[in-house]
C-alpha cells in the first residue's frame, strides 16, 4: 500500500488570490496601528510630516505586512494544505505556485523598505525590515513549529507598526512608542490563544505546538487570563505619560474591563476541552472577535484624540 498524495487541482490565479497571499485582514490591523503611531507622534512632538510622505509611509507598512504574509504562506504551505481552515489559501488551493509567493514576498519586502526610507528615514525603514524578518523568519521558520511560546515571542512582529509609524515622523523611538508596542505585544497571546482553543485539533494534526496542543485547553484559558491581567494595566500606561487623554482613558478602562470579563468567563468554561459544549466554543469565538475589536477601538481612541484635537491628557491636572 502506498501513501496517496493529493495534489491541489491547478487553477488560474486572480488578483484576489495575490491579495489573499498578503493576509489582508492582518494588514488592516497593522496599517491601522501603524497610522495611529504616526499620528500620535506628530501630535505629541509637534513634528509635521508631509501628508503625501505620511501616506507613502503607511503604504510601505502595508506592503511590508503583505510581504511578511506572503513569505509565511510560502513556508507554511505544507501545513496549510492539511488544515481545513487554511486549505483554501492561494498556495494549497493550487492558484499560486509556491515560488511565486516567495518571489512576491521578497520583492515586496525590498520595495516596502525602500519606500519607507524614501518617505521617512533609515530608522523607520530598518525597523520595517526587521519586523518583516521577525515575522517571516523568526516566527514562521524558527518559532512556530518549535515552541508553545511561539505566539508570545512572535507577537513582537505584529507589535512593531506603531513604533515604525512613530519613527517615521520623529526619527527616534521614545517611551510612548514602546508603550504602544507593549500593548500589542501583551494583546497577541490572549487574542491568538482564543482562536487556538477553537482550532487546536487542526494544529495537532500538523504537529504545530500551540499551547492548547502541548499543555491543554485549561492551561491555555489560564494563560489567556494572566496575559489579559497584564494587558489591562499596560494599556493604562499612556495615561501616565500623557500619550492618552480622557477619551483614551475611558476607552482603555471600558475595553479592558470587558476583555477581562471575557477571560474570566473563559476560565470558568470548558472551551477547547473534549467535552466542551457549543456555548463554550461560542464563548471562545466571541473572545477572539472581541479581542480584534479591542485593539481597533483602543488605537482608534489614540487616533481620535490626536487627529481630531481631542487630546486632553490627565497628567498635569
Amino acid at each position: 500500500m502506498t501513501d496517496a498524495v493529493i495534489l491541489p487541482q491547478k487553477r488560474h490565479a486572480t488578483a484576489v488570490d495575490y491579495l489573499n497571499l498578503m493576509k489582508p485582514r492582518i494588514m488592516m490591523l497593522v496599517v491601522f496601528t501603524g497610522f495611529a503611531g504616526l499620528v500620535a507622534a506628530s501630535s505629541m512632538t509637534g513634528i509635521a510630516i508631509h501628508p503625501a510622505m505620511a501616506a507613502i509611509a503607511t503604504l510601505a507598512v502595508a506592503l511590508g505586512s503583505g510581504a511578511a504574509g506572503a513569505i509565511n504562506m510560502w513556508y507554511d504551505s505544507d501545513i496549510d494544505a492539511v488544515m481545513t481552515r487554511t486549505s483554501t489559501r492561494p498556495i494549497p488551493s493550487g492558484a499560486v505556485p509556491r515560488e511565486e509567493a516567495l518571489a512576491l514576498g521578497l520583492i515586496m519586502s525590498g520595495v516596502s523598505v525602500m519606500l519607507m526610507w524614501l518617505a521617512s528615514n533609515w530608522l523607520a525603514a530598518g525597523l520595517l525590515a526587521f519586523s518583516i524578518f521577525y515575522y517571516g523568519v523568526i516566527y514562521t521558520m524558527w518559532l512556530k513549529r518549535a515552541t508553545p511560546q511561539n505566539i508570545v515571542i512572535g507577537g513582537g512582529a505584529g507589535a512593531f507598526p506603531p513604533v515604525i509609524g512613530w519613527a517615521a515622523v520623529t526619527g527616534n523611538i521614545p517611551l510612548d512608542a514602546w508603550i504602544l508596542f507593549a500593548i500589542i505585544f501583551f494583546w497577541t497571546p490572549p487574542h491568538f490563544w482564543a482562536l487556538s482553543l477553537l482550532a487546536h485539533k487542526e494544529y495537532a494534526k500538523v504537529s504545530v505546538p500551540m499551547l492548547p496542543v502541548t499543555h491543554g485547553a485549561k492551561v491555555t484559558r489560564q494563560q489567556i487570563l494572566i496575559y489579559t491581567l497584564v494587558l489591562v494595566p499596560v494599556s493604562l500606561l499612556p495615561l501616565a505619560t500623557g500619550l492618552g487623554g480622557w477619551i483614551y482613558g475611558a476607552a482603555a478602562l471600558g475595553l479592558g474591563a470587558t476583555f477581562l470579563a471575557y477571560a474570566v468567563r473563559l476560565i470558568r468554561s470548558n472551551a477547547g476541552d473534549a467535552n466542551a459544549a457549543g456555548a463554550d466554543m461560542k464563548l471562545a469565538r466571541n473572545t477572539f472577535v472581541f479581542s480584534i475589536l479591542y485593539l481597533f477601538a483602543l488605537f482608534g481612541a489614540v487616533l481620535v484624540e490626536h487627529a481630531a484635537g481631542l487630546h486632553f491628557p490627565l497628567t498635569g491636572l
Binding site: 503625501a52 510622505m53 503604504l59 519606500l115 524614501l118
Partner: protein
Amino acid sequence: MTETPDPAVPQLDAEALKARKRRNLWLGLALAGFVVLVMITTVIRLNTGIGVSERM
C-alpha cells in the same frame, strides 16, 4: 513545412493565456505605481530639503 511545438515548452490554453495577460497587467500597474511613488517622494524631498543634511 510545418513547425512542431517544442515539448519542453508547456502549451497554454486560452484561459491560461487570459490569466497571464491579467497578471501582466497588474504587474505593469504595480511597477508604474512604484515609479510614481518614487517620483513623488523625490520631488517632496528636493522641495523640502529632507535628507540633505544627513547626507552631507
